[in-house]
Symmetry: none
């Protein structure tokens, strides 16, 4: 079963409005086992809509059209569909009556212009819209073995119509077949390196299929499993996920909506869903220079983060590193603010001052200015300090600095200021994650 999606509107084609309907419809269709052929967007131009329908309909079983059903002169979907189907527009008394009731219920006058919204291609089936004045309709194009579903472009009208009147028909036609989708997230290796490690799991003809995408410095694996039933799909999906984990190991930090911060949060709280005062929760603090609060922002994105994150330092200037954390002026002078000794000192002092289990520290050159030959833009040092036994009974009040574990790494990140800062913040979280896992860092 193959479906395509057509969006109509000048504001979409000119880029004034971001089309979010198409993505939403595509996800609904994939979930019931539809292949998606294409998305297309054209403006409020009848001929363009006709051409789109003519080109797309022979290639799919279902064509979903949104937009162009309003009452104005530039709403032309009805006319274009009628033209391609070779029929006229005909008054739907049923929809006219509903529109009259719609306006009456809102004590607003129905202007003449709205009548066009009850003119539908002859032979089509009206789709109810309780949330607006544009009904939808479905009709088949027998010449192309394709069924069209036309829906309004307003998301809060389109979505209920799709769910109530369109999806049941598609689901019935699919006979139980599904395409399940899962995403695994990795951080720390490049896309081509991940692909190399996955090897023939990325074979294009494989089912479930495995593909990679990159977004905000995270390389994700998208796994699609096509199966004749949900059970078989879940089974195949599980096996493929296991195979990916075999290849990539701890590079995979989470699935679907997980972030590096949520993965870290789970480890700090031992996966406790709720944190009461008795559960063993470890804490982390932050000492940030070039990331300017971004690590803390990521940590506190997570609801309930107050359990493991109490405070953090943003020490942007050298003076602040000394005044707030007690990093010695001499270390900064000798090694430079962007250096491993400095981030180690930042992490150690921040941990000690806040009596946290862990501290993360970052200092770097985010750009665009401030680079040098020895330390170009993108140079970032990340440090981590950890006092392993802080949670042991009786240890809380003794602070044995000699037992503190500390490590630092220097990176050279490509890209602009935003990318460097984002990658630096994520690298700090990734280093903490490996430490929490008790696994050597691959960086």
């Amino acid at each position: 079963m193959r479906a395509s999606i057509l969006s109509i509107g000048d504001e979409l084609v000119l880029g004034q409005t971001l089309d979010t309907n198409t993505q939403w419809i595509a996800r609904q269709l994939a979930a019931v086992g539809c292949d998606i052929g294409e998305h297309r967007t054209v403006g409020d131009d009848q001929r363009s809509i006709e051409i789109a329908i003519q080109e797309i309909s022979p290639r799919c079983n279902f064509l979903f059209i949104s937009g162009g059903l309003g009452p104005t002169d530039d709403d032309l979907t009805r006319q274009a569909v009628a033209k391609v189907a070779g029929v006229n527009l005909q008054l739907s008394q049923e929809w006219l009556d509903k529109m009259i009731a719609f306006f009456a219920a809102r004590k607003r006058p129905m202007v003449d212009r709205n009548r066009i919204q009850a003119m539908l291609p002859t032979g089509c089936t009206m789709l109810d819209n309780p949330n607006g004045t544009a009904c939808g309709f479905s009709c088949s194009l027998p010449a192309a073995d394709c069924t069209l579903f036309c829906m309004p472009g307003v998301p809060k009208e389109m979505k209920p119509m799709f769910t109530e009147h369109v999806l049941p028909a598609i689901r019935k036609a699919s006979g139980g077949a599904v395409i399940l989708q899962r995403t695994l997230h990795t951080f720390g290796a490049g896309e081509s390196q991940v692909a190399e490690m996955l090897g023939d799991l990325m074979d294009r003809k494989r089912n479930p299929s495995v593909g990679t995408t990159v977004s905000n410095n995270v390389v994700s694996l998208r796994i699609n499993a096509r199966a004749p039933s949900p059970d078989e799909g879940e089974n195949a999906m599980r096996q493929t996920i296991d195979a990916c984990r075999d290849k990539l190991g701890e590079l995979i930090y989470g699935t679907d909506d997980d972030s590096l911060a949520s993965a870290v949060a789970k480890l700090l709280t031992n996966g406790a869903e709720t944190t009461d005062s008795r559960s063993i929760v470890q804490t982390v603090t932050t000492a940030e220079s070039c990331t300017g609060g971004l690590i803390a922002k990521y940590l506190t994105d997570i609801p309930g983060s107050s359990a493991y994150f109490k405070q953090g330092f943003i020490v942007y200037s050298n003076q602040a590193k000394t005044d707030r954390l007690g990093v010695s002026e001499n270390i900064i002078h000798v090694h430079g603010a962007v250096s491993e000794p400095v981030v180690i000192a930042m992490a150690k002092h921040a941990r000690r001052l806040t009596r946290s289990d862990y501290a993360l520290a970052v200092s770097g050159i985010a750009g665009p200015d401030g680079g040098s030959a020895a330390k170009p833009v993108g140079t970032v040092c990340v440090g981590l300090a950890h006092l392993p036994n802080l949670r042991q009974p009786g240890f809380r009040n003794a602070d044995r600095e000699e037992e503190v574990f500390a490590v630092a790494r220097t990176f050279n990140f490509p890209g602009d200021r935003d990318m460097v800062r984002d990658r630096a913040a994520k690298m700090a979280l990734a280093m903490l994650r490996y430490r929490l896992l008790g696994v050597p860092m691959p960086f």
Copy 2:
């Protein structure tokens, strides 16, 4: 001049990733007077890409393709273009050398797989990509009088390539007609309130037209001016912008790429483009609870922010507010951590400790948990402290707390955790902006 846009990727066609490239490209094209014919999205399937190029290219002068230029087996744009153009792929020694240098500079191994990224259709022109391993290319399809521009799908790579290597060619071909687009940003009033204030400036038939959009708590005015020449367009644009400013006053904090943080930065540095040690720059510090570093993150998003932002505090727990800033336990106990006295104390102490001109403090309930009947989720207190005369000669070393100005406001923001945190951080910056302007806050 007519252009169309083709996006390639399974993740796009299946709805797993929202395509934002197309909208961005469409806006750039409209700005130089291009009509946009259609947007299309197809999956990582060579035949589908070929069909799309074959169908679209006879209908437009320019076809912009993004995606499918990565190093993996499902990156098939190069092959599809070569097939349609009737040519082979040929090694670009120039790009191979650049890729080798790219990896060498990052001290990473270049895997064999990346070589495919230097294989380009014979006769095409390579488009440089300083931000990644996928070069772009342009080629003409003489049979269709259409020029193709192929670019990587990663926005951070596509956008600079488009701006530097593609747009100049399009602009030259446009012959003068323009659709100019400008955006004015407001913060602090709702969309319908802004629309009400704009009145008939929002008439749909007006040229230049004025429309509103909301994104990340910012209400923006989009102004489009169609004109036969850039001069006439600029003139009409200027008049419409002035008319909008007359209606909205200081609610408008900036245009186009401006952010609240960049507007604040300009005011703190007196608009100085470069900051040397002698220019008068005022400084700001932050004391953040529920925003967890987000205000500092926004301030340090701006290149050169070290001139006015030296350090900040993230004091998530009550203990941290007391330990780090010296907020009295009694104030917290009496008024609660989310209260105007507490944010005023946070701001005053943070300012004093860091000897800054200004301090911003936020404490609130971002949710989803932690709300109460008296202080529901979304309750946020924002405080500001300012020592007006810190920069006067001889004043630097005397710290007269009695001259500190302090103000706080309590808000109830709708939405989820992300929205509440974002709006709280922006409100703090907006309060600072009004203080810097010397204008009463409208909040």
